[in-house]
Amino acid sequence: MSFVPGQPVTAVVQRIEIQKLRQGENLILGFSIGGGIDQDPGQNPFSEDKTDKGIYVTRITPGGPAEVADLRIGDKIMQVNGWDMTMVTHDQARKKLTKKKEDVVRLLITRKSLEQAVNQSKGKYPRP
């Protein structure tokens, strides 16, 4: 899901909205992220393209807000509340996600199954 400069890249994305959980003074999202442009993308176990420096969902807390919102392990986060997440450092991503003032985060994510679904329908029903 990374893109080659100069090459258009298409991704099928899903909108996911996570209602943060307030636990005492903390806002809980219920998932973990990995990746970012400051991390070695080769070690990312979730990416297909090992040069992809995107932000990936590495963990989902069972029963947590993220799971409720149908976020899944391995999802790549493309945007958070409209902010680009494909070219950010790990901490920038975390900051955008854990904003204290926002009780809701809206993500655009992409995952393999989404693309497969589209590709399948592409094959089955060729566009007129």
Partner: protein, 564 residues
């Protein structure tokens, strides 16, 4: 049969019969032998490739298995480690999935009402045990994944600079919980920057109110450099510009961080944010937690006039503007003439555009919009969705998922109604209920619009279009099944609606920039308090994140929900 009465013919019959049987037997035996031979050949071939004689090799009694040498340069080589790890991982995954269910069940047992103290206690204990197991398993699968990722033979992985750290064993130490430590040690310059109070304050002033939040992403694409160093940040504060000018540090080990703990703590923000939060919630669709959303709707009703638009949508507009043409006027013209038969590449632009205009239009341009919009705004809510669905859904089956990658999308949010209504009758009913709670007015209509925003977009990068831009631009098209609506429904109602929507679209394009409630009185004050809180809580940050994996209790969530 004819001569069955004579004994001679009878014996003759028997002998011919046995002879026939013998022949048949022989034939079968021959066939068996040839099959065995074939099997042997296959087994030997397999042994030549794998170096091991399969168990299926037919051994006659007393026969010794043949000694077979594995052929050098056999057609393929099995990566045994890979296969092994793969299975290990899938096993662990299965176990994890199971444990997840077990944990969920345990948790639900805990939640049951009317439990005696002893039972509740034991269940809680059980729940904790299961949770521990679950965490362990999660850890394990994660590690396995990491290892596999490290040793995966993907070509890109062999890039030399990646190899340097990935072969490093430091990964295993640094991966999981103690990411604070690693990030501190591995990127000493960037970390303090991130937590620098002045920087935080610029951030908070950007996002202190929703209005400014949406300004930020709107502007940044126009600067044509969004990341890795957000240009806004560097423009706004001296501090951050110094910090961001440094190139991002590459190749720190791949780590993860839990988002269960906040970046900063703040007590005050709870109250001050609540009023801020509600309008936004009201304006945005939540398809997962309906009851929650509805309650927000109810509460947010009073705020509706100042509802800011979602920043997300603005970025789409801006990005697509840049994508198609630098001048927005060009797009407007195009939108006027070409809306009905947009090519796939353009279709994406329209949808998100039309989303925010819907909202903007409604609450900022009420007086102007009455001509074109009154039919939507004031019509009883039950009416037009069903009309729409009749118009658009009858000609074709719902089930065919046309690709979500292209067909033209007229700028209409209302087009979503037929689909979602038809797809989820239960949802529909719920909405009706809420409709009855409130008098049917424009706010209601608006909130209804937003509940049907699709949750799948096409997301396209077009780096080629803007050579110097580092951040990808985004094109958004509506989801699959909805597309087909636009595409096929060439009937009359489609046209009519299109006309209305076109003008609508254009107007909203003109008005969009004004749509944000820039002068909310509370906004400025909130910023400053937020900044103060931030600086204060920086000190506690590392502490906070030590207990990263704090258990998540459902009790709190239910409490939370009811509170809202």
């Amino acid at each position: 049969s004819e001569g069955s009465d004579s004994p001679t013919t009878h014996t003759k019959d028997v002998t011919t019969h046995t002879r026939a049987m013998k022949v048949k037997h022989q034939a079968l035996q021959d066939q068996l032998e040839s099959c065995l031979l074939q099997l042997k050949k296959l087994c030997i071939r397999e042994a030549e490739l794998t170096g091991q004689l399969p168990k299926d090799y037919p051994l006659l009694s007393g026969e010794k298995p043949p000694q077979i040498r594995r052929r050098i340069g056999a057609a393929f080589k099995l990566d045994e480690q890979n296969i092994l790890e793969g299975s290990k991982l899938s096993l662990a995954d299965a176990e994890l999935a199971l444990q997840m269910k077990i944990y969920e069940a345990a948790r639900k047992l805990c939640e049951e009402h009317h439990l005696s103290k002893a039972v509740r206690k034991s269940r809680l204990q059980q729940c904790k045990v299961e949770e521990k197991k679950l965490k362990k398993l999660q850890e394990m699968t994660f590690q396995l994944r990491l290892e596999r990722g490290r040793s995966s033979p993907l070509p890109a992985f062999n890039i030399s600079k990646d190899l340097g750290t990935s072969d490093d064993s430091s990964l295993s130490d640094s991966v999981v919980q103690d990411e604070e430590v690693t990030s501190q040690s591995s990127q000493p310059s960037s970390y303090p920057v991130e937590t620098d109070p002045p920087l935080m304050s610029t951030h908070s002033s950007e996002d202190g109110s929703y209005m400014s939040h949406s300004v930020a992403p709107r502007l940044s694409p126009l600067n044509s450099c969004q990341s890795p160093c957000p240009s806004l940040d560097s423009n706004l504060s001296f501090n951050s510009s110094c910090a961001y000018d440094q190139p991002p540090i590459q190749n720190s080990p791949w780590t993860e961080s839990s988002l269960d703990q906040p970046y900063q703590k703040s007590k005050k923000s709870h109250t001050s944010n609540k009023s801020e939060r509600l309008p936004q919630l009201e304006a945005c669709p939540s398809q997962t937690s309906l009851p929650q959303q509805l309650s927000h709707l109810r509460l947010g009703h009073s705020h509706s006039n100042s509802t800011p638009s979602t920043p997300e949508k603005h970025i789409y507009r801006q990005l697509s503007l840049r994508l198609s043409s630098p001048e927005s006027s060009a797009l407007k013209d195009r939108g006027r003439t070409r809306v009905p038969r947009r090519r796939p590449t353009e279709s994406g632009i329209i949808l998100p555009d039309s989303l925010s205009p819907t909202k903007n239009f409604l609450h900022h341009e009420d007086s102007n919009s009455e001509k074109s919009f009154s039919s939507y705004g004031s019509s009883p809510c039950q009416e037009f969705p069903s009309n729409f669905s009749r118009h658009y859904l009858s000609p074709f089956p719902l089930s065919s998922p046309q690709g979500s990658y292209g067909p033209p999308a007229p700028p209409s949010t209302s087009f979503y109604h037929p689909q979602s209504y038809l797809l989820s009758p239960r949802m529909q009913r719920t909405y009706y209920n809420t409709d009855m709670v409130y008098p049917p007015n424009q706010d209601l209509a608006r909130s209804r619009f937003h509940q049907h925003v699709p949750n799948r977009y096409d997301y396209c990068y077009r780096d080629a279009a803007v050579p110097h831009q580092r951040a990808p631009s985004i094109r958004v098209t509506p989801p699959a099944q909805k597309d087909q609506l636009y595409y096929h429904a060439n009937g009359h109602p489609h046209q009519v609606v299109n006309e209305q929507l076109k003008s609508w679209h254009q107007r909203s394009q003109l008005k969009a920039p004004r749509s944000r409630s820039l002068d909310r009185p509370g906004a400025v004050r909130m910023k400053t308090t937020a900044a103060r809180e931030l600086t204060y809580h920086q000190n506690h940050k590392y502490q906070d994140q030590v207990n990263v994996q704090e258990p998540w209790f459902i009790d709190d969530s239910s409490h939370y929900m009811s509170q809202v």
